[in-house]
């Protein structure tokens, strides 16, 4: 069985999370919206407990956590949910970057179709947004700035603190897609200037199908979001539907563990990274993204002379890796992230992304190296 090195696509479940999810699947199956008996009350308490566990990680209040089906839905709600407000107030300018996930770029493109003016501010060669350039793009009618916390393809963290300082004097709403950073890089998301944060459960060893949008109040008022669906009024009226209590409890537990085990997880990932880079060194890899800012569990590199699809297929029995993001790797479209960083076509076409976690077992490094050497030589 191959060792799974695609943790940026999705992570394995933490055993404690699985145990809790099972408990709510098997025994505690009440509806959180029916707190008229113990089943419903326990479900409601579990949801509120999870909300608190998530809120703690981003220095938010419990009522600011809106559960969704994942980060994609959270992104859609954060962006499309502002459409009506933007149209009504005449604020139709949107700012983002070209390295965002499709779950941000596509809703923004949909808003463009409705008359919004979208400006994608270029990033540097290291894959980081340049806060000054982004701030320079601000206009009086800028409704929203949307940036990611950590890039899913390169693992490069973005300068949120610097951007926060530059946005301090502007009242544009600020959305951060934290699908890849929530629970892995904790401090930046506590910044109170960030209005909206999208998070995902299955990137932090929680279940798939659950995420949240943190909608931080400003001067006591929620961001002016409108729901994308109707029918029930749950989640502050922003996300109707019966709450997925087992998944929510699992996400809460995953958030708790992310906080508690943060340092040990990062240390294990750093050690793994050193062994991986040492193994591949003889192949002369070109590492993509500014390594000073990369999180310890990801490396994106180009292997000269080995096309990424050949590398992925050749390594299939040893390690499971990908070339771009999970949501675009099946389309064989060259990485829009590496292209935005200005990398040449050859480097993009030989790039692979390896991402691991504290639960990843040790692969057979020697065989990985010889397999890649064979691929390069033939």
């Amino acid at each position: 069985m191959a060792i799974y090195l695609d943790c940026n696509a999705t992570t394995p479940l933490e055993p404690a999370v699985l145990s809790l999810v099972n408990r709510f699947m098997e025994r505690e199956y009440g509806n959180a919206a029916s707190p008229i008996h113990d089943f419903g009350t326990f479900a409601q308490m579990a949801v509120e407990h999870a909300r608190g566990q998530i809120a703690t990680l981003v220095a938010a209040r419990r009522d600011e956590v809106i559960f969704t089906s994942g980060a994609t839905e959270a992104n859609n709600l954060a962006l499309l949910g502002l459409t009506q407000h933007g149209l009504a107030t005449g604020r139709r300018h949107l700012i983002s970057t070209p390295i965002e996930h499709k779950a941000v770029l596509e809703p923004l493109a949909a808003m463009q179709q409705q008359g919004f003016d979208l400006e994608l501010v270029p990033v540097d060669a290291g894959g980081r947004l340049e806060p000054e350039r982004l701030a320079a793009a601000l206009r009086p009618d800028t409704l929203l700035v949307s940036t990611m916390q950590v890039n899913n393809e390169t693992g490069v963290s973005q300068p949120l603190a610097e951007l926060s300082a530059l946005l301090a004097g502007h009242d544009a709403l600020w959305h951060v897609d934290a699908a890849q950073g929530f629970g892995k890089q904790i401090e930046p998301l506590k910044d109170q200037r960030i209005d909206l944060v999208s998070i995902s459960g299955h990137k932090i060893y929680g279940p798939k199908g659950i995420g949240a949008l943190i909608a931080r109040k400003r001067k006591g008022a929620f961001p002016p979001l409108q729901p994308l669906m109707y029918g029930g009024g749950q989640e502050q009226g922003l996300r109707p539907g019966t709450l997925a209590v087992p998944l929510i409890a699992g996400l809460g537990e995953a958030a708790k563990l992310a906080q508690r085990d943060h340092a040990t997880r990062a240390e294990r990932c750093r050690a793994f990274r050193q062994r991986l880079l040492a193994t591949l060194e003889p192949l002369g890899p070109q590492v993509n993204g500014d390594q000073h800012w990369v999180l310890p569990h990801t490396v994106n590199l180009s292997l000269p002379g080995i096309a990424s699809d050949r590398a992925i297929a050749g390594l299939k029995g040893l390690i499971a890796v990908s070339s771009t993001s999970a949501c675009t790797s099946h389309t064989r479209t060259p990485s829009h992230v590496l292209a935005a960083m200005g990398l040449d076509r050859q480097r993009i076409e030989t790039s692979i992304r390896l991402s691991w976690c504290h639960l990843t077992p040790e692969p057979d490094w020697d065989t990985i190296l010889t397999t890649l050497q064979d691929l390069r030589d033939h």
Binding site: L20, R23, D38, T41, F42, M45, A46, H49, G52, Q53, R61, R62, D63, K256
Partner: protein, 83 residues
């Protein structure tokens, strides 16, 4: 600090600095002091600790209930003994 110590700390704080009544603090302190009896019920211990940290005697007042009151804590104590 383990979860029983965290529970002990939360109840002491709410009793000494907050408005948690003695009749509610006492049974919680008893739970915190009986870790053998409550082994395997860590999830409920954590739930109870979170409720104590956000305890508000007037949580039911106003339009939206975003704090925990004595009814919530009493109920969790009951679950701890029943489940």
């Amino acid at each position: 600090m383990d979860i029983f110590e965290a529970l002990h700390q939360a109840v002491r704080e709410q009793y000494e600095e907050g408005e948690l009544p003695k009749w509610l603090a006492d049974p919680v302190l008893e739970v915190a002091a009986n870790r053998e009896r409550y082994q395997g019920k860590e999830y409920l211990i954590e739930l109870l600790t979170a409720q104590l940290r956000e305890y508000d005697a007037y949580a039911e007042a106003g339009c939206c209930k975003w704090a925990y009151d004595h009814e919530d804590i009493k109920r969790t104590l009951r679950w701890l003994d029943e489940q």
